[in-house]
Amino acid sequence: MNQTRTRSISLLFQLGGLALAVLFVTIILLLVDAQPMEAFRLIWEGATGNPTRIASVFVVWVPLLLVTCGLLATFTAGLWNIGIEGQITVGAIFTTGVMRLFLDTSISPVLVIIISMLAGMLGGALWAALAGILKTFGGVNEIFGGLGLNFIATALNIGLIFGAWSRPGIASMSGTEPFPEHFWLPTFQNFRLSLWSIGFAVLGLIIIYFLLQGTHFGLRLKAVGKGMKSAFRMGIPTWQHMMLSFVICGLFAGLTGAIQVTGVYHRLIPSISSGYGFMGLMIAMLINYQAIWLAPIALFFAALNIGGIQLPIVIKLDSALTGVLQGSLVLFILIMQGIKQRFVGKK
């Protein structure tokens, strides 16, 4: 009885946050003289209007889901893995690099794709481990370390695209030379969506859910996240757990980068991480670090991203508006959580 009451109050506050976010965006729309209902309808229509659009939503859903899976591991350990963007980028770089090695060999493309993707995961994990090492042994807060590593990853990426890996004769912002078609993750006919990447996403979600909810490791990670000192006194090797959570997150981020290269762009592009890492941070906060809500909320964010494309085409509004909606959603739901704790009590 008591349990359900707290739940419904909690839900109520979250709905309140949602309402506030919608209100906020509505006000902005009114300020720029747009019609809110028309804008919301366009976003909905743009995300669900036809099979191609729905497929596009899932193309965004996969990386969002995967990075957020990774972030759940670091958040559980009480870490702000801002370096996630760089980890995606380095994952993509490793995937591209390894795939380039095998381009002119006779090894089966399937094997090449698998090796390249594994390399991507390794790359992401290494980059994340670097942030972890800076944190554990260098005393550098993971937020600052992560930011620095993001910059380095971007510079490295651009350097490769314009330098060593540039197209013959030209360097182009559109990225490296596209890989031949047999090195692409197979997609549905006429769609950009790959069943394989969907499979990876679902698998990733299941793994992270059971890892965090159903294992001793998950429990210990939670203990580290709740309080390092007490966890240490309980005999949990804290820094090792923190490192591991970084590595797990890096594996997911690297896989995300690998999918961006093999399944979406089929080459390395300058903004290969597409901001999915930062969006993943928002999603993780929004779902209060509960894996169970991840799939639908990530889908919602992906739908906003794709649906938002209609705004500039049809009513000449900036599609960044959907970003405002996403950001304000997180903000207001967090504010509402604060208010709830203040007035209704901790539970």
């Binding site: 809110p36 028309e38 597409s274």
Partner: protein, 434 residues
């Protein structure tokens, strides 16, 4: 008590949302799916559904003219960038004005940094969803996507501006019946710009603000150099060794913080190292803005922007002139042919209309002389343009590549292919070739 408080807040908020979204002058709130039909856009279809599957989509708006030819544009930069993308945008407006029964839809900032997670091909499909029968890809960087989209949508006409895909003599030839490649022969515009710069520099030092390095940008920077050198040697009769021409590449057509070098900074470095005329090869006007600042601080610095006829407006008093694209006439031609069923795939590299290079109804490129042009220089520049019109070819030997190897021997003239795919800057130019 507390619970009641929360309820009240929540209910209030909800009511506010509803009231606010309803009190906007939209049509009957009972049917929010109906388009509001603003006066200026009578043709907006009610449902952005695929026209192929649902032929009579705009059913709810009987006022719309029956058969409108919609063409879509994908612009790499902002539609109002006073540069490359605006030149395209205004060409679209030109088409709407000159070809009856056409409507333009467009999407700007089509690049993966501004629209992460999307591809140009995907965005082109969205334009088709909105009814576009012809799509313009306006950047060389969209080449892969333009080709992919053209292959996947054989019933849609595609213009890829500045591309070379359907050029049978080109290095990247792919026959695609529904694609056309258009490009103004801006080499002439850049030669005129270079000449203009040479006629105005006091220090003998010209800076070229380059975008990224590729064949197109190399040949354009080189054209500016050839024009500058010609006027320096022949009109001013100065020592060729005193002319310095430096190229600095920022990495893209416009500034993308974190991805490119900052053109403002590059322009300042030019000015601090003695450059007093900046020729811009990028799509935005930082060169002009910094020249004005420096001039305001007592250094006389001129600039020559690029792409867009109105670019001088940003800082007229330091603007010598602007070589601009005038895409309108050629787009009108291709849109008409698509409408009339006479479309032919072609690669067109279009020289200016030498009768009058500023005849906007009839020239693919032109050169607008800016207010800062000096009276002494004016007749000389006109003479140069007349010489070009009379057949002066600056792409003639002897010319050496930057590394000293021979490009053209004495008496040799470069072919179109050699110019289009120029592999290096020329001897006498400072700056990277690769």
């Amino acid at each position: 008590m507390k619970k009641k408080y929360a309820w009240t807040i929540f209910a209030l908020l909800l009511v506010m949302v509803l009231v606010l979204s309803a009190c906007k002058p939209t049509p009957a709130p009972s049917a929010p799916a109906e388009p509001a039909a603003p006066a200026e856009e009578p043709a907006a279809p009610a449902e952005p559904a695929a026209p192929a599957e649902e032929p009579a989509a705009p059913a709810e708006e009987p006022a719309a003219p029956a058969e409108e030819f919609v063409f879509g544009m994908l612009l790499v930069g902002p539609y109002n960038d006073k540069g490359w993308s605006q030149a395209h945008y205004e060409a679209g407006e030109f088409v709407v004005e000159k070809v009856p029964g056409t409507k333009m839809i467009y999407l700007d900032r089509v690049n993966t940094a501004d629209r992460p997670g999307t591809t140009a091909a995907q965005l082109a499909e969205e334009l088709v969803q909105q009814g576009a029968k012809l799509v313009v890809f306006n950047s060389d960087d969209m080449k892969d996507d333009a080709v992919e989209f053209t292959k996947n949508n054989p019933e849609i006409f595609v213009i890829h501006a500045s591309g070379d895909t359907v050029w049978a003599d080109g290095e990247n030839y792919v026959p695609l019946a529904n694609m056309a490649n258009l490009m103004g022969e801006m080499e002439y515009g850049k030669m005129i710009a270079g000449c203009d710069a040479a006629l105005h520099t006091q220090s003998g030092s010209i800076g070229y603000l380059g975008p990224l390095i590729n064949e197109e940008t190399r040949r354009l920077a080189t054209s500016a150099y050839l024009g500058a050198r010609y006027c320096w040697d022949n009109y001013l009769e100065k020592d060729p060794a005193d002319l310095k021409f430096r190229v600095t590449w920022i990495g893209f057509w416009f500034n993308i913080p974190g991805f490119t070098e900052d053109p403002t900074q590059v322009a300042n470095e030019f000015i601090n190292s003695g450059v007093d005329v900046i020729i811009s090869g990028i799509d935005t006007t930082e060169g002009l803005v910094e020249a004005r600042k420096a001039t305001g601080e007592g250094k006389q610095v001129f600039a020559i922007p690029y792409d867009f006829i109105g670019a001088c407006e940003e800082a007229p008093d330091v603007c010598l002139g602007v070589p601009y694209f005038n895409w309108g006439p050629s787009y009108a031609r291709y849109v008409s042919s698509a409408m009339q069923g006479t479309w032919k795939s072609a690669f067109e590299w279009m020289p200016p209309n030498w009768e009058n290079i500023n005849d906007l109804d009839n020239t693919p490129i032109g050169y607008f002389s800016g207010p800062a042009m000096s009276q002494d220089a004016k007749p000389l520049l006109e003479k140069f343009i007349a010489e070009l019109a009379g057949g002066l070819n600056l792409w003639s030997g002897p010319l050496n590549y930057q590394d000293g190897s021979e490009f053209l021997a004495e008496g040799e003239v470069a072919t179109d292919v050699e110019i289009w795919y120029l592999s290096q800057l020329l001897e006498g130019m400072e700056g990277r070739s690769e």
